[in-house]
């Protein structure tokens, strides 16, 4: 984990202890557990050929989505990525219907037309996962225009990976948001690889948050495996962007699984993976809650059992749901 000096932090996110209530800590722990359990189930389904297509697992990065989204209001917007299960669950989607979508069922969020890479939950401000790297960044920016024109106080959290930071859409969008002072929090999840391409080989800087300087906006780096640190950083950013325009937050994290199901992990070492597993965001939060007295062992076990149960129920619902209807094949192309 690269060390983050105070000097590297931007004006938006200063070292200030924001109190995180016990209840919220437990909620965040539960959300991380749900994401992990959801994806373990998805990985199992894929290995058994029960789900077709591909899937991109978020395991190891849960603290970033959960910490960030926990700091948002219910009606704030997010845009997500191809690795979007974490953001989607963090934003509060109904797990049974999300699982149904992955199994291609009519009761899925997108009637089985979207799948893993295209889940959206517009009612909760989730503008969608995205199959195109960097594809959601302009969309988040446009949501910022709607907020600005209406004059309300919502914000947009725009998630993307270290791969997307080298897409033109990143540059065009962050620049546009900076000149128009749009309330967008750009959150780069640096999981160290764009598929097999190491961020060290893909960019000539060690600290991706330095990119913010080019747009005259605050840039900061946060330990993406520390849910409380992410929560605090995004919480401060949320207040900042409403008044001052966008910020860039780079969350340093790591994906435990391969890029997708085709990944043989040839580009990274077992040692590196093991080292990051030591920093598992869920285990870290558990330890911290126990040590800090935010929860007892019994309470934690109860949350863990609850998370597993919620996924089992989601699976049951999804499996019992009917397949997508062939009658729906040509619907939803155009709105009336």
């Amino acid at each position: 984990m690269p060390r983050i000096s105070a000097a590297e932090r931007g004006a938006a996110v200063e070292e200030r202890a924001i109190e995180v209530p016990r209840e919220l800590q437990r909620e965040m722990y539960l959300k991380m557990l749900q994401i992990r359990a959801f994806e373990e189930k998805v990985a199992y389904f894929f290995s058994r050929g029960m789900v077709h297509g591909t899937t991109h697992l978020y395991m190891g990065e849960e603290a970033t989505a959960v910490g960030a989204v926990a700091s948002l209001g219910d009606d704030d917007f997010i845009t997500s990525t191809h690795r979007g299960h974490g953001h989607t669950i963090a934003k509060g989607i109904e797990l049974p219907r999300m699982m149904a979508e992955l199994l291609g069922k009519q009761s899925g969020y997108c009637k089985g037309k979207g799948g893993s890479m295209h889940i959206a939950d517009l009612a909760r401000g989730n503008l969608g996962a995205n199959g195109v790297v960097g594809g959601g960044i302009p969309i988040a920016t446009g949501a910022g225009i709607t907020i600005k024109l209406r004059g309300d106080d919502r914000v947009v959290a725009c998630f993307f990976g270290d791969g997307a930071i080298n897409e033109g859409t990143f540059h065009e969008s962050v620049n546009l948001a900076s000149v128009w002072k749009l309330p967008v929090i750009y959150i780069c999840e640096n999981n160290q690889y764009g598929m097999s391409m190491s961020v060290r080989r893909a960019t000539n800087i060690d600290d991706l948050s330095l990119r913010a300087k080019a747009y005259g906006i605050p840039g900061t780096r946060v330990d993406g495996n520390d849910v409380l640190a992410v929560y605090r950083a995004v919480r401060e950013a949320r207040d900042y962007v409403r008044k001052n325009g966008p910020v860039l937050i780079v969350a340093e994290t790591y994906r435990f699984s391969g890029h997708s199901k085709s990944d043989a992990n040839r580009y990274r070492t077992k040692e590196e993976i093991a080292e990051w597993r030591e920093r598992d965001p869920i285990a870290r939060m558990r330890k911290r809650m126990l040590e800090g007295g935010s929860a007892t062992e019994e309470e934690l076990v109860e949350l863990e059992n609850g998370a597993r149960r919620s996924i089992e129920e989601a699976v049951k619902y999804a499996e019992e749901s009917p397949e997508s209807s062939i009658d729906e094949l040509e619907t939803d192309v155009y709105a009336d």
Partner: protein, 325 residues
């Protein structure tokens, strides 16, 4: 009836819709004080201010993508791309994002946005500023594609496009911007998906759109002096397509000539030909279906070359005579 230019008609459509609906806003390069590269938006920033008439940096992907993001969150953006050729820079946002959101999300998203862009050759700007690329957009389910040939249609279609709940690619004809035509003072709209028979005739149907509609009409008037009676069907909107008007016209005349400025190969004219070949109108045809379209070359700079890279009145007239031969 009063006469105004095609550019003025477009400006009126935008201004009227912005007065009518506060969720409509307009963004693009140099659309503010400059008034747009073709002067379409002159004065709009004075009425609506810089929040609703937003001058953007030169960032086509962000313009189109931000329009999609604004649309899916409840705004009704009009995005101007300075030349339609540059839509290519934002094509992921148009074709992979805006066009597909509704379907991917199971019908829960609505993306009411218009991408306005000037198309066509004839200005001497050569290969990267002169194309007619409507076929690309027609090939992407989820997009609507409109291209008006008169000031009246431009205004009425643009108002419908702004009110439509889907992404609409609105291709303007840059050589028509200064052309005047009758446009009523009172409110009207022209529905998307309805062709206009610009001239009725007995002998042969020309199906066309955009700038070529005028050229075909002039040819038809000339041929009428010899007693050749040509019907000119201006599609106006390519998606959705008014199949019925095309089929009915061909059934009446028994001859079909398709004229478009875009390059012939894989052009939308092929789609029209296939539509007729696959319809009951096929049995009424007295001659093969013929196309007069752009040559399969980039638009050249030299004026003579440029003029001959796209349909000319002479080529259209020759094709009509051949078909009726």
């Amino acid at each position: 009836m009063r006469e105004i230019t095609y550019a003025e008609a477009i400006r009126e459509a935008m201004s009227e819709e912005m007065r009518r609906d506060p969720s409509v806003f307009f963004m693009g390069e140099d659309i503010g004080v400059y008034g747009g590269a073709f002067g379409v938006s002159v004065g709009m920033i004075d009425e609506f201010g810089p929040e609703r008439v937003r001058d953007t940096p030169i960032s086509e992907a962000a313009i189109i993508g931000a329009a999609a993001g604004a649309a899916v969150t409840g705004s009704r953006p009009i995005a101007e791309i300075q030349f339609s050729d540059f839509v290519a820079i934002g094509l992921d946002q148009l074709g992979n994002q805006a066009a597909k959101m509704r379907y991917m999300f199971g019908g829960r998203a609505q993306v009411p946005m218009v991408v306005r862009a000037p198309a066509g050759s004839g200005t001497g700007a050569a290969a990267q500023h002169s194309q007619s690329q409507e076929a690309i957009y027609c090939h992407i389910p989820g997009l609507k594609v409109v291209t008006p040939s008169t000031p009246y249609d431009a205004k009425g279609l643009l108002k419908s496009a702004i009110r439509d709940n889907n992404p609409v690619v609105f291709l303007e004809q840059k050589l028509l911007y200064r052309v005047k035509g009758p446009v009523p003072e009172e409110e009207y709209t022209v529905p998307l998906g309805r062709a206009d028979v610009k001239r009725t005739g007995r002998d042969l149907t020309i199906v066309t759109w955009g700038r070529m509609a005028g050229m075909c009409l002039e040819t038809a008037v000339r041929l009428a002096e010899e007693g050749i009676d040509v019907e000119v069907v201006d599609l106006r909107s390519l998606v959705p397509l008014d199949k019925e008007t095309v089929v009915e016209s061909v059934k009446k005349t028994g001859h079909l000539l398709i004229v478009h400025e875009a390059v012939q190969s894989a052009g939308y004219g092929g789609e029209i030909a296939a539509l007729v070949a696959d319809s009951e109108a096929f049995f009424y045809l007295d001659a093969p279906i013929r196309r007069v379209a752009g040559l399969d070359v980039p638009i050249p700079y030299n004026p003579t070359l440029e003029r001959n890279a796209v349909p000319t009145p002479e080529r259209i007239e020759r094709a009509v005579r051949d078909l009726l031969g």
